[in-house]
């Protein structure tokens, strides 16, 4: 192959690669830009401080406070529950199962499989369990379903950071006579805290944005839920329902709701970054 041809091939692929990267990053900016521009006309304080009033879905006064709070309650509850389930799992497969490595491999494998389950399937499964227990669509049912959705995301992300804790630290702790539980909680947990918080925030972001899993389980209402057994509105479903409306004012509110949801996601991911940077100072490198 001639030298000129080799050069030429190199150049063509470099251009293609740079163009692809531009497309990927450009589409993100385009999505954010479009949502913000379309949302501005409908975005005002009423949107976030008031619940839907009479004729809201015909374009009259009101806001989406019900959906914002509903989403926050739902995602917070689900994240809390998912932490209670995934932190012990992640700690266990990294500190306890030294002798049975095969078990850890298996747990990771199933977590990965769960990670790939579509959220609509979690929704359907949540619905089955809900009807089996005689529950109605409610905040609680939504929280349980979204917690299942968050579990593999969170557990796997925690596992990745806990795995990085140097085994010398664990050995040192053991040689000082600490039990495995003490090592897990005082050394491993402390050392990987920034990563664990990041994992929680990532899962929170996933949970608050998901629509297909809450459609069957959380219901929808114009009121802010005051107990776990009441149905709860969510931002993602508010966007979905309003976008289907033939009335332009209502559709404009769908764009505004999408901007609010995107803003929450942005804040969460910025917080995750800032928090993990700040906490990283306290760990032993």
């Amino acid at each position: 192959m001639g030298f000129r041809r080799r050069k030429w091939e190199e150049r063509v692929f470099r251009v293609l690669m740079a163009a692809s990267t531009f497309i990927v990053l450009g589409s993100l900016l385009m999505i954010l830009g479009t949502v913000v521009i379309k949302a501005l006309p409908a975005l005002n304080l009423d949107m976030i401080t008031r619940t839907p009033e009479g004729g809201f879905y015909l374009g009259k006064a009101g806001g989406i406070k019900n959906a914002i709070l509903g989403s926050l309650y739902l995602a917070s509850g689900a994240t809390l529950l998912a932490v209670l389930l995934s932190l012990p799992i992640a700690l266990y497969i990294n500190t306890y199962s030294m002798r049975s490595k095969a078990w850890a491999v298996q747990v990771r494998f199933f977590l990965d499989v769960l990670w790939g389950v579509p959220s609509i399937v979690y929704g359907a499964f949540g619905f089955i369990v809900m009807t089996l227990l005689g529950m109605r669509a409610s905040l609680l049912a939504g929280i349980l379903t979204v917690a299942l959705l968050e579990l593999p995301i969170m557990a796997r992300a925690m596992d990745e950071v806990i795995r990085l804790v140097p085994s010398a630290l664990i050995d040192a702790s053991a040689s000082l006579g600490a039990s495995r539980l003490q090592t897990a909680l005082r050394v491993v947990l402390r050392q990987s805290l920034p990563g664990i918080l990041t994992a929680m925030l990532i899962a929170f972001g996933r949970g608050i944005g998901d629509a297909a899993s809450v459609l069957f389980t959380a219901g929808f209402t114009d009121h802010v839920p005051t107990s776990l057994t009441q149905p709860a509105a969510t931002l993602s479903l508010a966007i979905f329902f309003q976008l289907g409306s033939p009335i332009p004012e209502v559709r404009a509110r769908a764009y505004a709701s999408a901007a609010v949801l995107t803003l929450i996601i942005l804040l969460v991911s910025l917080a995750a970054r800032a928090l993990s940077r700040k906490l990283r100072k306290h760990i032993i490198p």
């Binding site: 080799r6 050069k7 091939e9 692929f13 470099r14 690669m17 692809s20 990267t21 497309i23 990927v24 990053l25 589409s27 993100l28 385009m30 999505i31 479009t34 949502v35 389930l85 012990p88 799992i89 266990y92 306890y96 199962s97 298996q106 494998f109 199933f110 977590l111 990965d112 499989v113 790939g116 389950v117 579509p118 959220s119 609509i120 399937v121 359907a124 499964f125 089955i128 299942l148 579990l151 593999p152 557990a155 972001g205 608050i208 944005g209 629509a211 297909a212 459609l215 993602s236 966007i239 979905f240 976008l243 769908a254 764009y255 999408a258 949801l261 995107t262 996601i265 969460v268 991911s269």
Partner: protein, 281 residues
């Protein structure tokens, strides 16, 4: 804690079992082949053929893969082998952010920008389209799975050792030749897994696709035709679940089919990735 760590496996089993038990109603009524290979979806007459929906999902997913795979792989190679340091540092958080954008927001964006775009370009190809089409779904879906394919591929590239690259460069290969003959060859299996993971992610995606794809239950014949993917069927018929007999069972069967297909692909991808990891370590 050991008990709790059995939860993921149990959950996989429970989901499969639950969906299977719920599908029994419709499975006992009709042979499996009729459910999967008939296009007649008439719940009132007790006909639940899923073919139109299965092919809708396949069309949208395959079209999305054709768009997403080359772009994602080229981006991953660029970021891992060619890009200047600052660009790499900038791109990674942005791709993470793209992965975190909720699917309804993708849907809103698709309705605002991609649907009118497709309606505009359809006449250029001698077709008429309202814009709500396979192509619109595929474009939105392709962007949604960029992060999955890129992030997994980047991990695969990091696993290829520096020494191999240096050896190739020392022999006089250009950087692209090094990528082509060394990095891509060494990482081939991992890249296949990345693509398969992207595929299974795309296959089950619900809301964004549902919002732009038109939802007409017919076999699509071109990219500009509307389609009706399987997850959209479940969402749209949710209201009739309790009123029309066997509809609930048929919808749960659809969810089961969806899950099984995604499972097969995920299993395959994860098996490959575990093997790759073991070989490299």
């Amino acid at each position: 804690m050991r008990l709790l760590s059995a939860l993921p496996g149990l959950l996989v089993g429970c989901i499969l079992l639950g969906l299977l038990l719920k599908s029994r109603g419709v499975l006992s009524m009709q042979p499996l082949s009729r459910l999967l290979f008939s296009t007649a979806w008439k719940p009132l007459k007790g006909q639940f053929g899923l073919l139109a929906f299965l092919s809708g999902t396949l069309w949208v997913t395959l079209a999305a893969m054709i768009l997403a795979v080359p772009i994602s792989l080229l981006t991953a190679v660029y970021l891992s082998e060619f890009a200047p340091r600052f660009l790499r540092g900038l791109a990674k958080p942005l791709i993470d952010l793209l992965a975190g954008i909720p699917s309804v927001v993708f849907g809103v964006w698709g309705v605002l920008l991609i649907v009118p775009f497709v309606a505009r370009i359809a006449p250029l190809f001698g077709a008429y389209s309202s814009g709500y089409s396979v192509l619109a779904g595929a474009i939105v879906l392709a962007i949604m799975i960029f992060p999955t394919i890129i992030l997994v591929s980047l991990e695969v590239f990091t696993a290829v050792s520096r020494d191999l690259r240096d050896a190739s460069l020392a022999l006089g290969a250009t950087r692209w030749e090094t990528v082509k003959h060394v990095v891509l060859r060494k990482g081939a299996q991992g890249l296949i897994a990345a693509v398969v993971l992207g595929f299974s992610r795309a296959f089950g995606e619900t809301m964004a696709v549902l919002m732009v794809v038109g939802n007409v239950a017919r076999l699509p014949h071109s990219l500009f035709d509307p389609a009706y993917p399987l997850p959209a069927l479940i969402v749209n018929h949710y209201g009739e679940m309790m009123s029309i007999p066997q509809t609930e069972s048929a919808l749960m069967f659809s969810a089961l089919v969806l899950l099984l297909i995604v499972f097969v692909f995920n299993f395959a991808a994860r098996l490959i990735l575990t093997r790759v990891e073991r070989r490299i370590q």
